[in-house]
């Protein structure tokens, strides 16, 4: 078969769905749903108004946690990256905190903020803050000294140097860091919602299982998480196509 290249992923998904359908029909227990049952589950959730509500709840938490982390982590990272001594002083602490999974903070965040949005937002913030800080530190450290010299040569003061040279020089790397971190944040929100709140896509999955083994709704939740994660990534990726950023990505 000579399929047009663009249709190949579509073709592959269709084959996979068909296999899933066959497998679901052949199992004896009928606990795991087939693709049609999942589709019906999504429709049911939409009808009850839960789908949109949960999606909005999850996105709301990710947006706040991620945005706060971005606003704090990038200036922090840029400052640390350009002051070697401060970075050397703080680096061991960063390296100790970094391997602690954000999920390990769930008990403490519930203790501090109670069960609710704040606890979840705090977890997203924790999950995003250190990766973004480290990205910004590395971005500053790898900046071509030649650009800073040229900037100073043309008579720029410190503030102008910051926003006319330093910032545009690190922007492409920051965008990659933001993209990866948003992916992490999206992973963490689902886990946080399973424990710390009672709405959102993570809650949907746990709730559907607890309330009568509705595995069609469990898989429906999983599908929605996947689709939204993909859309978020596509959104961030589109930033990489801005013309003044393209030099930072090794296309050529």
């Amino acid at each position: 078969m000579n399929f047009p290249i663009r249709l190949r992923p579509v073709f592959f998904v269709v084959v996979l769905l068909a296999l899933w359908d066959v497998a679901a029909r052949r199992q004896s227990s009928h606990i795991l749903p087939g693709p049609l049952a999942v589709l019906a589950g999504i429709a049911e959730l939409a009808q009850r108004g839960l789908l949109l509500k949960y999606i909005v709840a999850s996105l709301f938490r990710v947006t706040w946690g991620f945005a706060m982390a971005t606003v704090l982590a990038i200036p922090t990272g840029l400052a640390l990256g350009s002051h070697r001594r401060v970075e050397m002083a703080l680096n061991p602490m960063i390296q100790i905190f970094r391997p602690i999974s954000p999920l390990a903070w769930i008990p403490i965040s519930i203790l501090w903020f109670g069960v609710g949005d704040l606890a979840a937002i705090f977890l997203i913030f924790l999950a995003s803050f250190l990766p973004l800080t480290v990205t910004a530190i590395n971005a500053v450290k790898s900046i071509e000294q030649i650009y800073l010299r040229a900037g100073r040569n043309f008579g720029l003061d410190q503030v102008q140097l910051l926003y006319r040279v330093l910032y545009p020089a690190v922007a492409p790397q920051l965008i990659i860091g933001l993209r990866i971190t948003l992916g992490i944040a999206w992973l963490v929100v689902v886990a946080a919602e399973m424990i710390a709140v009672n709405s959102g896509l993570g809650f949907l999955i746990v709730d559907a299982r607890n309330a009568g083994n509705r595995y069609d709704l469990v898989v429906a939740g999983m599908v929605m998480i996947g689709v939204i994660g993909l859309l978020l990534d596509i959104g961030m990726r589109s930033l990489e196509r801005i013309r003044s950023m393209r030099w930072g990505y090794s296309e050529d």
Binding site: E144, Y147, R149, A150, R152, P168, S244, W247
Partner: protein, 268 residues
């Protein structure tokens, strides 16, 4: 050795007696503190460059000629000695004298226009646009105003960087092996372009190279440096008017003289 240098420096001063001194270095010495051993890079450099003069600093790779240029431009403080430009001590970079790196120095996040206009932030919008258009034409980048550096060839990027430097109307240019990364044909074209621009704008130019032919083709005077720690071995005056006939006897004499000075027989 230092006697030879002093004589060379004095000869320069005598010759430049009629012209204004633009740049003067006094006992410039540079020592880089390494792990354990200190590295002496420059040794007691006395050099004078006149207003509007084109001086090439020639020496083997890694001899410290780039360090000399970086000190003169104010990017590095010397261990001993002082640089004077227009009678003022140099303590840092200044927009009146622009350093041109190899073509890597252009800002990849700005278009050709954005790069040329980079140093013109104090001008009004109309003045800036006029200046940009003038220098785009001077270096022959018409039609590429909105292009980004990654879309340009090496030679075009180099011309862009020269245009960016000239646009702020500096009275002195420091060029650090500017054509080193270009292929040999582009390099020849760029030399001719640089001379054309220099003749039109008469900036004082200090040009670092390890290419003997390049130095003899371009410079009024060639400052021949020794290996590290770099000292001035000799200063050779190139008294051939432009455009230079590179097969003339005078050219070949001067060139071969420098080859000998550096300890190379001009035979491959």
């Amino acid at each position: 050795m230092s006697v030879v240098q002093t004589i060379a420096a004095q000869r320069g001063t005598e010759r430049n007696g009629k012209r204004t001194t633009k740049l003067r270095t006094e006992g410039l010495t540079m020592v880089f503190k390494g792990d354990g051993a200190d590295v002496r890079v420059l040794e007691d450099i006395h050099l004078e460059v006149s207003e509007g003069e084109f001086v090439c600093v020639l020496g083997p790779s890694g001899c410290g000629k780039s360090t000399l240029l970086n000190i003169a431009a104010g990017f590095l403080p010397p261990t001993h000695g002082q640089v004077w430009i227009d009678g003022e001590a140099v303590h840092g970079p200044d927009p009146r004298r622009i350093f041109v790196f190899q073509e890597r120095g252009v800002f990849p996040w700005l278009t050709v226009e954005g790069n040329i206009g980079f140093g013109l932030f104090k001008l009004s919008k109309a003045d800036r646009a006029g200046r940009i258009a003038h220098y785009i034409k001077l270096v022959g980048l018409q039609g590429f105003e909105q292009s980004y550096p990654q879309e340009l060839s090496g030679g075009m990027k180099q011309r862009l960087e020269v245009a960016r430097a000239l646009a702020v109307n500096p009275d002195m240019l420091f060029l650090d092996e500017p054509f080193g990364a270009l292929d040999s044909i582009t390099r020849l074209i760029m030399r001719r372009e640089l001379l054309r621009i220099w003749e039109a704008e008469r900036k004082t130019i200090m040009f670092v190279t390890h290419d003997i032919e390049e130095a003899v083709q371009l410079a009024d005077r060639v400052v021949v440096m020794s290996a590290r720690p770099a000292k001035i071995q000799r200063i050779v005056e190139i008294d051939i008017p432009h455009p230079r006939d590179i097969s003339s006897n005078r050219y070949l004499d001067l060139r071969d003289g420098i080859f000998e000075q550096i300890g190379l027989a001009h035979k491959v």
